[in-house]
């Protein structure tokens, strides 16, 4: 079962220097909300930004990670 802190670390690794916060919305280890502030998002549409974040987890999103709610922004 994935933990919020693990997701946070993986996003952090993928977006060096980003400000990342992940909440486990239900406490059940399957519905998460991630807030990420990174300069990597500069110039990208929201769709592209969210796809980058989903890309960190591949097939796990929709699988073990049932839902990952995302809020992205630039510093």
């Amino acid at each position: 079962m994935p933990h919020a802190i693990e997701l946070e670390q993986r996003i952090q690794q993928a977006f060096p220097g980003a400000n990342v916060h992940v909440d486990d919305l239900t406490g059940g280890g399957d519905h998460f909300r991630a807030e990420i502030v990174s300069d990597r998002f500069e110039g990208l549409s929201r769709i592209e930004q969210h796809k980058l974040v989903y890309g960190v987890f591949g097939d796990e999103v929709g699988g073990a990670i049932h839902a990952l709610s995302i809020k992205t922004s630039t510093p």
Binding site: R46, I47, H50, A67, S69, I70, K71
Partner: protein, 133 residues
Amino acid sequence: MESSEIRKFIEQAIAENEVMLFMKGTPEQPRCGFSMRASGALNELGVQYAALDILPDPRIKQELAAVSGWPTSPQLFVGGELIGGCDIVLEMYESGELAERLGVEMPDEDEGPAPSVEMPVSKGPIPLENRLG
């Protein structure tokens, strides 16, 4: 029905419906809070949209993800283009961008939420499960 046919059906649904929502359940009976909020935003705006329930066959979800490059549902397409999932749809709803994109007025907040009896009936595509048998 083969996976390739399901994919074709999905691609057609996206191409043929100006506003196309893939969701868990139906607008009348959403089966997931995220899907409920996304279809709720469209209902509030009073736009006509087509909705497809992805739950009847697990291959719908797989093929949709392959077509759109987006792993979760709901997914909203406008004019054949992926707009986003629940988060983006709601953000855009709240900022007024979604109304603008759909060419409708934001509902007047003083009037409160639109009465549910006036929920637009989603037309087509034909529910996929009817074609799987």
